[in-house]
Amino acid sequence: MPVLPHRRIVASVAIPVLLLASMPVSPVGAQSPGDGPAPVLILPTDRAAFLPGATFDIRIEIEGEALPADLAITVDGAPAADFFGAESTTETWSKGPETAPVPVQGVTWRGVSFAAPGSHTVEVTADGATTSVDWNVLAPSQGAGARNVILFIADGWTVAELTAARVISRGNVEGKYLRPFTIDQMPAVGLAHTSGLDSIITDSANAASALNTGHKAAVNALGSYPDTSPASADDPKVETFAELVKRLRGMSVGIVTTADWTDATPAAVFAHTRRRGDQADIAAAPLDSGLLPEVILGGGANWMLPETVEGGRRADGRDLFDEYEAAGYSIVTDATELATAGAAPPERLLGLFHSGNMNVWLDRNVFTDNQGSFTDQPGLVAMTNTALEILGTNENGFYLMVEAASVDKQIHPLDVDRMVGDIIEFDDAIDAAVRWAAANAPDTLIVITADHGHGFETFGTVDVEAFNAAADIPGKLDAIGLYADAGFPTYVDADGDGFPDDWAPSRVLAALVNNHPEYTEDFQVSSVPRVPAIAGADGSYIDNPDDDPNGIPMTPTMPLSSSQGVHTLQDVPVFAGGPGAEYFGAVLDNTDIFFGMAAAIGLDPSAADGITPADAVAPEVACEGVDFGGVCFTR
């Protein structure tokens, strides 16, 4: 039965996290300053989880001018070089500020892997002191019958945002929604923790990296553990889901996003860098590594062009369009060409539709002047459909990541309507995937989640006419309806396309973000993308007089150096449907999503064909808590 093995993986991943949640969380080893033993950093970090056969780098950092004479690096007591059957290299660099550099010795193993499941202890002895980390190699699951995996990520998406979008899109009468989103009908619903190695608050890079690798990273880091060396590309790497399924199973890989395709979330599918801002390097990474996704659709043409061309951002002079074309890609640049490509699927497709981030649904469909000259951009639905047409031709299956990037990019500047439009479009893209899978490939796992939250919530409605007519701030506040006075917003969707016919109805949502700079809020749709705050003369952010001049003034709730809302701590929703979906109906860590996707397709990177052997038996996990209803509850 497919259910049991991957259920066990849930337990073996989740339980240690819960058991150790109260312990100090530090990505580093002993860091005692002063004259004591040399501080040691071991990467990957303590409690890292692996699949056997998945490759990764190890880096041990020891502060000092030279390697300690007594240096010993062991795994379960055996020299690490013997354990992994590989030799290390040693490098030296300086960390810390230029005024007070600290010399570091780095001992590195590249591309090692574990042969089998089990727990391991890595010990580093230096200057008489020992630092250790524990690593857990999980047992691969026999799979749930999934051949394809689609990971939908709405960047910066929360339950509160989904609920607001549902009210506006579907309508609510006497407490009941008139119809559900497709997301709402997913059989498995869970939550995912999002914190990273360095902070409880994550960014899109380390969160998406966790989803794609099963390993935590730090803010700005992709597919690697952050070391202290100045170089951003030499940090110890971990293999991504896309790399694993392409290398071992011959599966196709697709990337669809509304952002620059080199932005953090899409880059997490394939990139390895400490610095997500290295977008020129990220754009070239597939060419340079040879891991060529079959489908790349999104924005970010600027990162493909040499800087000698107006708009180009590449200092290396390469024209990546030419290089991707030479690597076998068909290239499309607008929605019309994309539709043609979908009709006769090419082997590899690169479609970039904007110089930077693509325009949001509201600007592509309502306030179309905001598109500038990019008047024929495809939406997320068209991009998803074309990607599925191409990827679906691979009998070995595929991994497709689809990102609604601007849910995050619009709620950062507190632009509720632009965020809502892209959530409705996100649900439409998921609906398209469900229909495609039902018709073409029922053995497709669909996972839907976010990388982190935002502090958005709806607390009532606003009588727009009264708000705008009020002579003073108390009058405007009185136009906000609470509890029974809130009633229902008056959006109408007569044409049934799921989007309001008019984004400026008489009663709108009273919705705010709880962290923000000084700004003004009128709760009404903005005809241009919002810029709520601008830099004042001393660099502190102050209200933008051009944004919501009719709004109520809001006192800043964050450092004055912050121009807009930021990511928040809350667990993000996880939805799933298709074979292997049950795994996701749980409270998960974001790293568990990687293992859940691997479990659904029975991925065993230590097997020659990447498939978990039929006779593999998952190890029993002894319950050290209370067994209730077949579940082990621990504290």
Binding site: D203, V309, S373, I534, D538
Partner: protein, 193 residues
Amino acid sequence: MSPTTRVPTFRPTWLPGLIVCLLLAGCVTAGTSPTGEPPTGTPPTGGPTSSAMVEDRTVVVDHPPTDASGEAVPLSFEEFYDGYDIRTGLILSDTLRSLAGRRVRMEGYMAPPLKPDLDFFVLTRIRMAYCPFCSTAADWPDDIAVVYLTQGTMRATDRPLRLEGVLELGARRDEQTGLLSIVRIRADHIEPL
């Protein structure tokens, strides 16, 4: 909260920029980085923070505008480009091309600068802000101009600006700052509106 205090008129002053900086602000910089990395320092503190106080400041240029020959031609951001070709980049308009090397007049806003005393800044069509975590320098709109002061420095400001100077055209990376630009103006006259 629109400014209610009267905007002081622009008056060039001979005060050295450094002294002006010490007098008027804490010389703090915005905690932002164009690389998308988190700010490394602490947020600015102690400086004036309300917009009312900011309004009391005057834009200061160390030197008065030099007398420039030739009538300045008005130029708007909308006139810059005829669109964008995904494979070849921005398409410069004939209007823009015809003005290369000539004296132009533009109005716009100073983008959030990285330091308070400026010898160059980015001029934008609308007021801008950007988030260091979710966007990088890549998120600059295409229709921007980099303004280099021909003499001295000026204070950062959030007010609309009118400036005059010689238009320089073509993709170029500033060796010192790494800033990529297409439209540059060597400005000798800058005033708030």
